[in-house]
Amino acid sequence: MAASETQTPATPANAAATSSARARAADFIVKRHYLQWWEALPWVLIIAAYFIFPDRMTFGTQVLIGIMFALSLDLILGYAGIVTLGHALFFGIGAYTVALLTARWGWGEPISSMLIAIVLSAVAGLITGWFLLRYRGLTLLMLTLAAAILVQEAGNYRSDITGGYDGVPGMEIGKLFGIFENDLYGRNYYIYVGVLLFIVWYVLRRIVYSPYGAALTGIRENVRRMYAIGSPVHRRLVTAYTIAAGIAGMAGALFAQSTAYATLGVFDFDNSAKVMVMLILGGTGRLYGAFIGATVYLVLEDDLSKLSPTFWQFGIGLLLVLTVLFARRGLLGLIEDALKYIRRGAKS
């Protein structure tokens, strides 16, 4: 029998080599979720920005909200591989929950209204996800796009409630914890949103390094295999979609609170596309791509639009084309490659 040829005798040397290989492999899996030193960088920078640009915190808050929105997309696009062009739907539901609660029902307390916004957008994610996530690829792309447009048009139809594209008037946002008002420079909100972003990051980080997170990656990598090993694929996707919707709704709620303003424009296709561009620019499927992408995008948008109010999108477009052509893993991938190159150079 040929079997005996491969059954090399288990000499002590062989056994030792195998057990050390086993230990190394187990070690890798066990330690994979450990925090790396560089993961502190975004937080150091976010805190530093507070002291370096004290008069630009209103803009800084928008960057933090952009990061949160992009992070929520990363869970479903970057990890689970769900392609969506309707993520603004949940951002919009979050924003409108806060806007309507505040302006129509006088519920101005920011934290409770944000929590309600999270719940409502998560429920919207659960319901739409349940139906839409049976589809994949282009079909899913069109359906997610359509879902956002449907809700936007419904809002437009009842513009007596929503204020249509002019927005909800008269939002009186309450003080945070009854103490902190949103000052002219937005410093309080910067801290508030920063803390919430940290919580969101922590939760998402737990999820992506959990067995469930691994299963999402498996669905992205090879869905046929996932079915074959008995994975409840649909349930897993709907769960991720619901969580992402809740976080997107949170970002939307914070947007409405920090700007005291919400129009039906939040549901725009532009908004869905923008968050996707941010994420692709930064790099998908690694959490930190959202940080880099949202920051670079929003800073460029801000600076370029001051430089040339009519032509600024050219710069963003150019950057995106360059990213997709030459840095498929986004700016984060570019940084990783550069570090590898430098390290190799240092060795030789």
């Binding site: 079997a3 890798f28 899996i29 737990r206 469930y212 090993i229 897993r236």
Partner: protein, 257 residues
């Protein structure tokens, strides 16, 4: 004793083309059954019907006596039905070890956990490493699938299926695409499978089939042409004509294209 897997009068067509016609097939517990037939005979389609990738137009599939004809692919896998694919279906961007851990995680419900770190359960990792060790893949445990030679990838296919702890295992050409110098490795693994698992193997290499199988079913143009022990099949003149001869190849090509 109820059969591990029973297929009764299974029918399926793609448009006007019938690809599975009244197929009956029984795998007892611990069976070593080979499914042979010319290209386009509907062998892979039959595997897809049994595992639930495709739905039959009529007929029944029973797993350990239970009718699973209308249950989902996921549920069938959970009840102990595993398969390998003719063309690798692996998580190419993940390590070999992660591929196996994935299968164990879905089997045990580990993957329902959103909060605990993936490496927190030593028993899962140890089991995954045991599977790798039995297929001599431990040294490749931390390599990404896409960095692995094709022959080794084929072994991972089998390792994933074994990590599901199946009661019925369907092997769809496990050594396909592997140079013959390496294919004996894979076939040794197949020969050494747990005797309790019922195994159905699709294979073109007649040496392998006659060495491995206790029973052989010959499929031609979607229907069971004949069925018997290796000795009976070897002696069967019609099988020689249809399967091994020119005629079979022509028939196969016609139904293929």
């Amino acid at each position: 004793m109820t059969a591990a897997l029973q297929v009764e009068k299974l029918n399926r067509s793609f448009g006007a083309l019938p690809v599975t016609r009244d197929v009956d097939l029984t795998l007892e517990r611990g069976a070593r059954h080979a499914l042979i037939g010319p290209n386009g005979a509907g062998k892979t389609t039959l595997v897809n019907l049994i595992t639930g990738v495709l739905k039959p137009h009529s007929g029944r599939v029973l797993l350990n006596g239970q009718d699973i004809t209308s249950t989902s692919q996921t549920e069938r896998a959970r009840r102990g039905l595993a398969r390998t694919f003719q063309i690798n279906q692996l998580f190419r961007g993940l390590t070999v070890l992660e591929n196996i851990v994935m299968a164990i995680g879905e089997r045990d419900g580990e993957n329902n956990n959103l909060w605990r770190p993936a490496g927190a359960k030593p028993s899962v990792i140890e089991e995954a490493l045991d599977h790798l060790e039995s297929l001599r893949l431990v040294d490749d445990a931390l390599k990404l699938i896409r960095e692995l030679p094709y022959g080794r990838q084929r072994l991972v296919e089998i390792a994933i299926a074994l990590a599901q702890k199946p009661r019925v295992l369907l092997l769809d050409e496990p050594a396909a695409g592997v140079p013959s110098s390496e294919s004996h490795l894979i076939l040794d693994v197949v020969a050494a499978l747990d005797p309790d698992i019922a195994v159905l193997i699709i294979e073109h290499d007649m040496d392998v089939v006659f060495r491995f199988a206790k029973e052989i079913t010959v499929l031609v143009q979607g229907a069971v042409f004949t069925h018997g022990t290796p000795e009976q099949i070897m002696k069967d003149e019609q099988v020689r004509a249809v399967y091994l001869g020119e005629e079979g190849h022509k028939a196969g090509e016609r139904s293929h294209g």
